[in-house]
């Protein structure tokens, strides 16, 4: 069975200003890496715009409307010091969320074994009604709710290995026992949440890592804390917030992972999916700000998806 790749050129047109780390060049680097011969068998799909009713399963309608209204017709608007809107940002945000929703539909329909969404802006910091940390809509949360409500799944898991805690995804699901959320992340680091003690209603698992932690600490935390909880949850679908900024070369954080660690983690997730979820995994790009490390890590991640 094939791996699906969802993307759209509108995601390249989300302009955050010159030299913003969350730049169009990030997505261009990922897509360039996935254009090689080794990735020839990817089933490439255009991401649709998310339906407003799908977005509204994760965010109040008033927030969705306000965010789209805030997109300027020219120049830039800053939601906060980090989170920038410009004329192309509305469509990019809709396509990024739409990619994950469409990937969930396609994987549930058996059109592919698993899927990767090469999109921006990222999503995992956006809480129900608060966009932040470079994120506009919470793409992965929208995908999880699509799986729950359009496909009737009872147990959906989100695994987030971006170097920053997925505070948004946690906030959206921390009271929902049908959705499992696990995150490895650096602590201390933006946004400051994600302590081990944050457990939701028993559906949230946080594994913070100290600055300068590397492969050994990451694989220990992932293997001893995240994976057993994921297995015990018996997910029917696993979504992955695939941020690659825990790489040693990333300028925004101080963890020391390499491409092999992302490949390893992906393989472990796929194993859990094969045991409980008929192999179904939908992954979406979050962070990763060193272009070379980002491309190499995304390649390792997608290669593992293709080898499942």
């Amino acid at each position: 069975m094939t791996t699906l790749l969802f993307s759209h050129k509108a995601c390249l047109a989300h302009d955050t200003g010159s030299h913003h780390p969350e730049s169009p060049a990030r997505l261009a680097a990922v897509l360039d890496g996935l254009s090689g011969a080794a990735f020839g068998k990817l089933d490439r799909r255009q991401a649709p715009e998310a339906r407003l009713e799908d977005i509204a399963r994760a965010h109040p309608r008033a927030f969705v409307d306000a965010l789209l209204d805030a997109v300027p017709k020219q120049g830039y608007a800053a939601l906060d010091a980090d989170t920038i809107l410009s004329p192309g940002s509305g469509e990019a945000a809709l396509r990024a969320a739409g990619a994950v929703a469409a990937a969930v539909d396609a994987v549930m329909a058996g059109e592919g074994a698993n899927a990767f969404c090469a999109v921006r802006p990222p999503g995992h910091h956006t809480e129900p009604a608060h966009a932040m940390g470079f994120c506009l809509f919470n793409n992965i949360a929208i995908g999880a709710q699509r799986a729950r409500q359009a496909h009737g799944l009872e147990r959906v898991a989100v695994v987030d290995f971006d170097v920053h805690h997925g505070n948004g995804t946690q906030a959206i699901f921390e009271a929902d026992a049908h959705v499992f959320f696990a995150s490895t992340h650096q602590s201390p680091l933006y946004p400051g949440t994600g302590a081990r003690s944050e457990r939701g209603v028993g559906n949230v698992v946080n594994a913070p890592l100290r600055p300068n932690a590397g492969s050994r600490e990451f694989r220990q935390a992932f293997g001893e804390i995240v994976l057993p909880a994921l297995e015990a949850f018996r997910p029917e679908l696993i979504l992955v917030s695939a941020g690659f900024d825990a790489h040693r070369a990333d300028p925004l954080a101080q963890l020391n992972l390499d491409e092999g660690d992302f490949g390893w983690a992906t393989e472990r997730i796929l194993e859990a999916a094969s045991r409980h979820a008929k192999g179904r995994v939908v992954s979406s790009l979050e962070g990763g700000y060193d272009l070379n490390a980002l491309a190499a890590s995304a390649e390792a991640h997608v290669a593992a998806l293709m080898a499942a």
Binding site: G17, S18, P21, D80, A81, G133, H164, P188, L252
Partner: protein, 83 residues
Amino acid sequence: MAKTMMPPDIAKLSFEDALKELEDIVRRLETGNAKLDDALGAYERGALLKQHCESKLREAQARVDKIVIATDGKPTTEPLALD
């Protein structure tokens, strides 16, 4: 806790200190003597410093706008709350 994605060592810099470090990086890159990895790292740090400077300028601009509007109306100088 950290209120911005910007790395904490950059986030705490004043505009002037960030600009000075950015100028140092530009000088180093212009001499062309650094190893490629060091130059790429310096370039990435420079980009973040520039971003931080621009963020500081936007904050200053917003403050100036607020004062101008106030003097057109009532003579108040309340600062713009950004967070």
